[in-house]
């Protein structure tokens, strides 16, 4: 087997961190090779170097045996390397065809030859079995289809080597299987593929070899057939990992949050949440499972007052909070760990002290009659930092200078201080390393054990199955079923996430 890519001794240093530390990586023709590691391990950095978006500090790259200096994406594309990014690089209001040919458009004299573009897009699409409509606008097509467009983008440029960065984040389990099929087809056609992921299941199902990165260093490269999930997890994290949390048996109490026939429109005035009903009780974690983009964001924002409610009723501890403002929802007893911690949850330029009172800054003891009590505020900050072990030199540094895990701790500390009867946690472990994930899980279970109601929205099935007492699956804005976690299987959930129902599988609404 010939090596199409060889990366030798790649080191990449950013100010203050070593992202890649003497990394050796190779790719053989026709194989699917996974780059595995936690968030922050250096996988995307390494591939950005291969694709020319970054330049390595030291080390060499050989493509098809020849040493190359890849100065930019154009150089990488010329060498037959294509990259499908984790966050899609598609212009929303352009068509599929325009996005695919962007950068190497067919011309007729001075003008853009869109007819030729569309024809060539159809050709590539047919050849590899990736169906798309060249005239559709990206903003109108579903997320899973956008990924296909990204792959076509690379293939259309003649990529022989494909890099896919976390491709499965937006897919249902069935779509992940489909992706596996597509990748196999591609390797049969002679393409070689690098998959970046932190999801063990995908690794085992789809790859020939795995290279594990931890903190910028290669821990090892193994044949997929010769390893197990536990072994990979241990290599990824560096110690034995308990892949499941211990959850105490608990009987749920009173209904805290009651959602009835809730309908919410998204920012384009299309219904994103359709006639959704569920309740969350004291002492339980209700998880909303579903593929990203099925209405979870709009559901959470409507419940927390950040988006308007079209119709329906929401009651918290007996109080009607339908369509209420964020302040009213907070005062009624809600804590909210937002999906986007840097955009919603923190003021990055402000100190930790100022961040730790956001939401109740106007209430005693922090403020009286509009005047703020700086001493009490500072004390509060100090206490929370200590109690939640937030790693920071002091409380006056800006929130933006903290690591992702510590930023999340600031948000959790602040929300937990309120001791709210209802806690809404939206993708609380996104982008965090294993240690921080364990911390968040522990705290969520703690709330549940203390008789609070927790509404968890997550894209990670493992997390949901670990933590939830009951699981509601959302698909196209509707709740297709609510299952008891103890009885639910991944296959069942996967089916529901793709639109199937669980009518005959023990629905517990």
């Amino acid at each position: 087997m010939s090596k199409v890519v060889e990366m030798k001794g790649i080191t990449k240093i950013f100010p203050g961190t070593v992202a890649n530390d003497h990394v050796d990586f190779d790719l053989e023709k026709g194989e699917i090779h996974v780059l595995l590691g936690e968030n922050g391990a250096g996988k995307t950095t390494l591939m950005n170097i291969l694709y020319g978006l970054y330049q390595q500090t030291s080390g060499d790259i050989y493509i098809n045996g020849k040493k190359e200096d890849i100065r930019g994406p154009n150089a990488a594309i010329a060498l037959g390397i294509g990259m499908v990014h984790q966050h899609f690089m598609l212009v929303e209001n352009f068509t599929v065809a325009e996005n695919i040919v962007l950068g190497h458009e067919p011309k007729k004299g001075l003008t853009l030859d869109m007819e030729a573009a569309k024809t060539s897009v159809r050709e590539v699409s047919d050849r590899f079995g990736l169906e798309v409509d060249p005239d559709a606008r990206i903003e109108d097509i579903p997320v899973g289809l956008s990924q296909r467009v990204e792959i076509l983008k690379a293939l259309h440029k003649g990529a022989e080597i494909l890099i896919l960065d976390e491709p499965t984040a937006v897919l249902t389990p069935q779509e992940i299987d489909d992706l596996g099929e597509i990748l196999k087809n591609l390797t049969n056609e002679g393409k070689s593929i690098i998959l970046i992921t932190h999801k063990l299941k995908e690794v085992l199902g789809m790859s020939d070899r795995v290279t594990i990165l931890r903190r910028g260093k290669v821990i090892g490269t193994v044949q997929t057939s010769e390893t197990t999930a536990d072994e990979l997890a241990e290599m990824m994290v560096g110690r034995e990992v308990n892949l499941s949390s211990d959850k105490a048996e608990k009987a749920a109490g009173e209904v805290i949050l009651n959602v009835e026939h809730l309908t919410v429109k998204d920012h384009r005035n299309l219904p994103a949440v359709k006639d959704v009903s569920f309740e969350v009780r004291q002492g339980e974690i209700l998880a909303i499972a579903g593929v990203d983009g099925n209405g979870q964001k709009e559901l959470v924002e409507a419940l927390t007052g950040l988006m308007p409610t079209e119709s329906g009723k929401v009651t918290l501890c007996g109080k009607d909070i339908t369509g209420a403002s964020p302040r009213t929802v907070i005062e009624a007893g809600t804590g909210h760990i937002p999906q986007d911690r840097q955009k919603r949850g923190l003021i990055l330029q402000s100190s930790l002290t100022e961040n730790l009172i956001l939401g109740y800054h106007y209430q005693p003891p922090f403020a009286k009659n509009g005047k703020m009590d700086q001493i009490k505020i500072a004390e509060h900050g100090k206490e929370l930092i200590q109690e939640f072990d937030i790693r920071t030199p002091n409380q006056d540094v800006s929130a933006g200078s903290l690591s992702g895990g510590n930023q999340q701790k600031v948000i959790i500390a602040r929300e937990f201080y309120k001791d709210p009867p209802l806690l809404i946690a939206a993708q609380p472990t996104r982008g965090l390393d294993v240690g921080a994930i364990e911390f968040v899980h522990m705290r969520l279970l703690e709330q549940r054990d203390n008789n609070k109601a927790v509404l968890l929205v997550s894209l990670e099935l493992d997390e949901i199955m670990n933590l939830a007492d009951r699981i509601a699956v959302i698909y196209h804005g509707q709740i297709v079923g609510i299952l008891d976690a103890a009885q639910a299987t991944e296959r069942q959930l996967g089916l529901m996430m793709a639109g199937g129902t669980s009518a005959d599988k023990g629905d517990v609404s």
Binding site: F14, N48, Y51, L53, Y54, Q55, G72, P73, N74, I77, M83, H85, F88, M89, L90, V91, E92, N93, F94, E98, N99, L102, G103, H104, E105, K107, L110, T111, L112, K153
Partner: protein, 310 residues
């Protein structure tokens, strides 16, 4: 309403719309690539001044126009440096340029002509219809006789701009850079260079707009003569949803309001002059109230692009 007054109104509206149109088209290039251009006012001032100056120096109005365009480019390059290379705040940069140009122009007025307030009248102007043959057309002849060369150029630029931005590959690149610069970057488009070129084109057009105001109307430069037109052009841009043809209609609409002010006496309108003078500005606000909310700027408009370190 007599035909003469009607034609007068129409041609006034078109002549008044012309500098707005050129400035608004300048804004189209800049903002479509993602750079907010608050400096249109200052660039127009710069174009108005330098075109008159060079006309004094060379005696030729067309040479004056080319200098107005040249200095428009120079002024806009300051915006380009701050917005693209230094990734500074584009609104502050634009405002700063406006203030700086006002100061520089006042300074130059002093040291070149030892005057303040306005320059002497230029030896040549461009206020007459260059295409005399069109005046021979019956019925429409009088209409054409009241147009200036700038009018023809401006309307031609509308078509050129549409063609360039929507029918050429480079135009696709520009729009991609304005919507999703990172996506454009990852397919190998040079975001910085694209934005620079667009800002410079923007400077050229706005400089030309300034020349329209000075050489195309009174033949001299007067401090404060731009009088907010750079901002009305921005409003027209929003009204026209950053699209050259719709922006053209928006500018004609504003031109009509300005014309009404000037011709109010002919219509026998008896209102204080101050209220008539206010009309274009009030109209701008009313238009914005009616339009904004439905208008969508290019997604990355106003955000400096930070290319990840290499």
């Amino acid at each position: 309403m007599t035909t003469a007054i009607f034609i007068s109104l129409l041609t006034s509206a078109i002549r008044l719309a012309t500098p707005l149109l050129l400035a608004a088209l300048a804004g189209v290039y800049s903002e479509r690539s993602g750079v907010v251009n608050i400096a249109l006012e200052g660039i127009m001032t710069s174009g108005a001044f330098f075109s008159i100056w060079f006309t004094h120096v060379t005696g030729s109005a067309w040479l004056g126009v080319s200098m107005g365009i040249a200095f428009g480019i120079v002024t806009s390059s300051l915006l380009a440096v701050i917005a693209v290379n230094l990734k500074g705040n584009q609104v502050i940069a634009g405002t700063a340029i406006n203030l700086l140009v006002t100061a520089v122009v006042a300074f130059l007025l002093e040291i070149i002509w030892h005057r303040s307030g306005s320059t002497p009248t230029a030896p040549a102007m461009l206020t007459t219809n260059p295409l005399k043959f069109l005046e021979g057309i019956p019925f429409l002849g009088t209409f054409f006789s009241q147009l200036t060369p700038f009018v023809y150029i401006a309307f031609l630029m509308v078509g050129v701009t549409f063609f360039v931005l929507w029918k050429t590959p480079w135009g696709l690149h520009v729009r991609a850079v304005g919507e999703h610069p990172r996506a454009a970057d990852t397919v190998g488009i040079n975001v910085y260079r694209t934005r620079w070129i667009c800002v410079l084109i923007s400077g050229a057009l706005a400089g030309l707009a300034g020349a329209t105001l000075s050489l195309g109307t009174v033949g001299l430069f007067r401090e404060g003569m731009v009088a907010g037109k750079g901002f009305i052009a921005l409003a027209a841009l929003v009204f026209g949803k950053w699209h050259p043809i719709k922006t053209m209609y928006a500018c004609m609409f504003f031109g009509l309001f300005s014309a009404f002010n000037i011709l109010a006496q002919s219509f026998g309108v008896d209102a204080p002059t101050e209220f008539l003078a206010m009309i274009p500005y009030v109209a701008t606000i009313l238009v914005l109230i009616g339009v904004v909310g439905k208008a969508q700027a290019p997604k990355a408009d106003g955000e400096p692009y930070e290319k990840d370190e290499k």
